[in-house]
Structure formats: structure tokens, C-alpha cells
Symmetry: C2
């Protein structure tokens, strides 16, 4: 089972989740895991995790810049964890629906988007709302997710952890829902991680970003 | 012709130059280019290149930490540029000899190492010493190299710029001098840069470095 760390904020993670969903439909095992960019990049955490998003009030704004995403991050993760209680397929459907609302339809990560995602995912809506009421339990689960991410050394999303423990950030510009193409992109990532070269990083020079396809 | 930006300080760039040398022996075109980690990471250059290593005296120590490598960087690059005047093959031989002295034999980048590298490369030693006397001319050439690196957006070494303009940092842990293996490692890098996914970065999570082979 490959673990996939994502943050709803991140368009690269969205493409990673779409890729994994295509591969999952073909029988490859993926498990959704959470990483928070707001927590991971928080200035108070430069020397280790001391500022935890799970300790913050649901309505706290967080600050300026990327810190302003604190509230949507925390609320989206808790809504997702409540959805995940309805099983693996429900989890994927909810996650994809909320990602598409945010990154394809450009909707904010707010209560209306969560409710629409729950509906599109075919959740038992009253069970989902009931699960959301156990805020303390959901916060504890989220905290455990973010602790796991720190353990792995996740610094950005999407980060994939292969069954053999190899873990890497995989950032790509294009979206695919084509099974053959998804298979090629995934194999290339695994080839890099398993190369005898012991590859640590392949990263484009800054002034020449990779080509983004039209559409 | 692929351009290969390197810094004598960097063990990853050393392995990149060794890889390119193996491929070059099989007919693949590579051109050696300079990038300075001391200049690129200098605190005065956070907003653009204002502090230039080519403006510094040859004997200036530079400072603490990585800045203490300013003097060996500048001297090694100028010695190499003088060697490069004796042709492409001489350039590769000098570069490999100096890299191996520094990273394999753990010798400092000093005058004795430059002289030994010149001898091992089979240079015309008196012509090399004569070329070194044109310090202003060599500094101007070095400045042009470092300007080119900035143009490409080089931020670390080795960075390869493919003939189509794709440019990326390629960091790997292991050394190969095996033609078949070198071919595989190089093809994988090109596959990543040319993937339809539009890959920007593949980077290991911090706590699980790639496996380094013994020996």
C-alpha cells in the first residue's frame, strides 16, 4: 500500500490524488494521509513541531500570506476525517469532490463546499454530520496524521511513501485521468526512487518551469 | 550539446561530471560550465546577484561556514579556465583530476592540487602557467560563466541543460564509471524532464535519504 500525503490547499497534491485515483481503479493500493502546509511551514516550527494546527480554534484566521489558510485547512481536514469513517471508497470520493470544487471550480474550502462534496460522494449525510460532532476525536486523528507526516519527513505535497519505505515529493504540472498515461507517470516516479544511482533530487532550474499543457 | 554546470566543492557535481565523462567517451556531447555555490548562496545575493566572486581578491578568506570556500572556489575556477584553453579533452582531464584529488583523495583545492591535476591531465605546463597570468581575462571568462548560470536559473550542482533547453539539478549518491549503468541513469533523468506530466520536482522526504552503495 502506497501512502499519499496531501493538503487540500495544494494544486500539485490535487493532481497527485487524481493520479492515484486512476491507478487505484486499476487495483493499485493507495492510502490517503494528511499533511498541513500551514503547519509544516509555520515560522514557529522552524526548529521542530511546536505550533500545531490541531490546537487552534476552528474559526481562527491564522494570519497573513499562507497562514491565512489555517481555518480552511483545519475545517477541511476535520470534515474529510468524518467522511473517511464511511469507508475507503467514500474517502476517495469525498476527497476528489472537494479537490475538484476547490481547484477546478475555484470554490473556497468552506461549509457549502464540504456539504456538496459529501453529497457528491454519496455519503450518509446524517451519519457524516453526527461524526463531525466528535470534534475532539477528529482532532486527535488529525494530530496523529500530522505526526506521521513529520515522522516520514514530509515537506510538501503530494508526497508518496512506497511500500518499501521510499518517500518523495512528486510535483508535476499536468492532470491526467487516462489510465495508460497515469501508469507511465507513476512508473517513472518509482523508477527514480528505485534507481541504483540513489537519486535524492531532480529539480528544474528556476527560470525554466516545466511546460504546462493547454486545457 | 548538453551543458553541465558544476562547482569543484560539490560531491554531487563530481558524480555528475564522472557520469558525463563516461557518456562523453561514448559520443554524447557535454560542455563543462561553472556555477559557484558560494556566490549563488551568498547572503548578499538573496535579491539578485550583487556580490560577485569574480570581484574578490584571490587570497580573501570569505568568512565562516560555506563562505570559507570562497578562496578555493575562485582559485580552482581560474586554474581550470587556464587549463581549458588547451582544448576540450584537456578540460575534461583537468576537471576530473582535480575533482578526484578533492573528493576521492580528500585533498584541499590548493596550488599543489592544481599543479598535480595539470600534470595528470597532460597539459603543456608552461603554457598553462602562462595562461594563468592573464588573471583579468580569466576573471572575465568566469564572470560570463556565472552570468550564464544565473540566466538558466541554476541553484545547485550538478545542473544539466539539455539541447532543448530543459534544465534541472540532478542529485544522486552513487558514483558510476560503467557505461551501461551511466546510460541508464542519464536516460532516466531525460525521461523525467521530457515526461508529459510536466515534472518540476522529485525530491526525497528529508528523513529517509536514498540508499548509498558501499565502496
Amino acid at each position: 500500500m502506497t501512502e499519499l500525503y496531501f493538503d487540500f490547499l495544494c494544486p500539485y497534491a490535487w493532481r497527485g490524488v487524481e493520479l492515484a485515483a486512476v491507478l487505484r481503479a486499476q487495483g493499485e493500493g493507495f492510502r490517503l494521509r494528511f499533511f498541513s502546509l500551514v503547519e509544516g511551514n509555520h515560522p514557529d516550527n522552524a526548529g521542530g513541531l511546536t505550533w500545531r494546527i490541531t490546537d487552534q480554534p476552528l474559526d481562527a484566521e491564522g494570519g497573513s500570506g499562507y497562514l491565512s489558510y489555517q481555518r480552511p485547512t483545519l475545517n477541511a481536514f476535520l470534515a474529510a476525517l468524518a467522511a473517511y469513517e464511511q469507508g475507503e471508497d467514500a474517502a476517495w470520493k469525498f476527497t476528489l469532490a472537494l479537490y475538484r470544487a476547490h481547484h477546478e471550480e475555484k470554490r473556497p474550502l468552506d461549509e457549502a463546499a464540504f456539504a456538496d462534496a459529501a453529497q457528491q460522494a454519496g455519503l450518509d449525510l446524517s451519519a457524516w454530520q453526527a461524526a463531525r460532532k466528535d470534534e475532539a476525536g477528529l482532532r486527535a486523528k488529525l494530530r496523529a496524521e500530522l505526526d506521521s507526516a513529520a515522522e516520514v519527513g514530509v515537506f510538501g505535497t503530494p508526497t508518496f511513501v512506497l511500500p518499501d519505505g521510499s518517500a518523495a515529493y512528486y510535483r508535476f504540472e499536468n492532470l491526467t485521468r487516462d489510465p495508460a498515461e497515469a501508469g507511465v507517470w507513476w512508473q517513472l516516479f518509482k523508477d527514480v526512487l528505485h534507481s541504483e544511482a540513489g537519486i535524492g533530487t531532480i529539480k528544474r532550474a528556476k527560470k525554466r518551469p516545466p511546460v504546462k499543457r493547454g486545457g
